[in-house]
């Protein structure tokens, strides 16, 4: 694990999301409740919709393009749709958001 401080919890509205740009693509960080966050791939496997722009409900998000719904715990598409988005470990530490960057580094910076 390599935890990186990506910002303050307060920077994300409740039932909202913000984007983190990484070498492995954009990661959407969701705040589903006062002290509950999830980090998943921002890209919908259907038509590439930006999930961070979707409506957040419970621990799910609805893609803004064609209403696919994803469970943020598992990354699995809900209902009759099949597909999965990557999920990434994230935790809250003294009001800061710590994202595990070990799978996000892509190729070596060197």
């Amino acid at each position: 694990m390599s935890w990186i401080d990506i910002g303050a919890l307060a920077d994300i509205p409740e039932r909202g999301a913000r984007l983190v740009k990484t070498q492995a693509g954009c990661v959407a960080v969701f705040r589903t409740g006062p002290d509950e966050v999830f980090a998943v791939s921002d890209r919908c496997p259907h038509k590439g919709g930006p999930l961070s722009e979707g409506i957040v409900h419970g621990q799910k998000v609805t893609c803004p393009l064609h209403n696919w719904v994803f469970d943020l715990n598992t990354g699995e598409a809900q209902g009759a749709d099949t597909g999965r988005i990557d999920t990434f470990p994230i935790r809250i530490e003294s009001g800061r958001l710590m994202l595990d960057a070990s799978r996000l580094a892509g190729r070596s910076a060197a």
């Binding site: 990186i4 990506i6 910002g7 920077d11 994300i12 509205p13 409740e14 039932r15 909202g16 913000r18 984007l19 983190v20 740009k21 990484t22 070498q23 954009c26 960080v29 038509k47 590439g48 919709g49 930006p50 722009e53 979707g54 409506i55 957040v56 409900h57 419970g58 799910k60 609805t62 803004p64 393009l65 064609h66 209403n67 719904v69 209902g79 009759a80 958001l97 960057a101 996000l104 580094a105 910076a109």
Partner: protein
């Protein structure tokens, strides 16, 4: 059937066909649902929820979830935008609009495109613009490398392909030239389309452009169950196509013919005459009262023509033509407008950080 096949879940024009397929396949076992719940979160219909929000004076989302027995924690993408609208329409001074309960377009005040970029449409009151405004739009299009500039059907200019993080900056530039949001993304007042009227046209009977501008300045910023489009034509030749709008005015020598409940989308329908009026002030009053009646009574995502078909033109007329009811509707509209007649772009331009990525790990790696 909707969940598995996705039939009748996008534009909805095949709903009737889907019902027929169900009826043929299931025979007697198929029952046409009498009243559809809003979504899986509740057994209540839109009409039930609207009525209960008023009757029980529910003024917050948690109150709705709790009092009305919602089955989910905080609704879903179907019911939450509807409930958010009902609350702000019924309690404009008590309830605060919740951006997180809005579809991305209304949260970002721009229309999302298939590639995740946005479109930006400044308001041009009554379809009138100036060389200075056009210059500002052209400058913004070049500065932000806007790939497509399109003229809309509602007499506005659409800048397509703007990056989400550029939105507050392009708004600030447009604001500086006096341009405000055109609400091209809103379930709210869209545009008031006009012809040039009697100032220029040899057939024009009234100042259709001036009336269009007055209507737009009065109605803009208001949220409605679905989008609302207006037009004012200076004579019955109808160059502004007012007879297929939600509210359409045809100017004649004796005054103004006010029509409502037209459509030119999935259905095409001519407006129905609400009243013949003598003055601009009367047109604005009647149009405003109709807007408020629609705001207070229609279900979310019903355009005015669909709603009028449900409640009946006679009922709508009985409300609007009664002076006391009409004045009261206009008063309640004005109370709501004291909160919502403002430019959301100016607020967004002041908060550019909210539109930018939270972090950019690419940059940190490079450092």
């Amino acid at each position: 059937m909707k969940a598995i096949t996705k039939a009748a879940t996008s534009c909805g024009t095949c709903s009737g066909l889907v019902e027929q397929v169900m009826a043929v396949t299931l025979g007697d076992a198929y029952e046409t649902p009498a009243s559809q719940p809003i979504c899986g979160c509740t057994d209540l219909t839109h009409e039930d929820v609207r009525r209960l929000i008023k009757a029980r004076e529910l003024k917050s989302q948690p109150a709705v979830w709790q009092e009305l027995g919602w089955k989910t924690l905080n609704g879903c993408h179907v019911c939450r935008p509807a409930v958010n609208y009902y609350l702000l329409a019924d309690w404009p001074l008590d309830y605060r609009d919740d951006p997180q309960s809005r579809f991305v377009n209304e949260r970002k005040h721009a229309n999302i495109q298939k590639d995740g970029t946005f479109s930006v449409v400044p308001r041009m009151w009554g379809g009138i613009t100036t060389p200075a405004e056009l210059r500002a739009i052209a400058d913004a299009a070049e500065k932000y490398s806007v790939p497509t500039v399109h003229v809309t059907g509602g007499q506005r200019i659409d800048l397509l392909g703007v990056k989400g993080e550029d939105l507050p900056h392009i708004w600030a530039d447009l604001n500086a030239a006096g341009l405000v949001s055109g609400h091209a993304y809103a379930k709210g007042l869209r545009t008031v389309k006009t012809c040039v009227g009697k100032d220029h046209c040899r057939f024009g009977t009234q100042d259709s452009t001036g009336l269009g501008i007055k209507l737009e300045k009065h109605l803009w910023g208001s949220w409605t169950p679905h989008k609302v489009k207006l037009a004012v034509s200076g004579c019955p030749r109808n160059c502004a196509e007012a007879t297929c709008k939600d509210i359409g005015v045809i100017c004649v020598d004796s005054g103004y013919q006010l029509g409502i409940a037209g459509a030119a989308g999935m259905d095409v329908k001519e407006t129905e005459r609400l009243a013949d009026l003598a003055t601009e002030e009367a047109v604005i009053e009647y149009a405003t009262a109709f807007m408020q009646l629609y705001r207070e009574n229609a279900r979310y995502l019903d355009r005015p023509y669909k709603w009028v078909a449900k409640v009946g033109m006679e009922w709508v007329k009985s409300q609007i033509l009664d002076e006391a009811t009409r004045k009261a509707l206009c008063e309640r509209f004005e109370i709501s407008q004291s909160v919502y007649r403002r430019d959301p772009w100016a607020e967004g331009a002041a908060e550019p950080r909210a539109f930018a990525p939270l972090a950019n790990l690419n940059l940190e790696a490079a450092e």
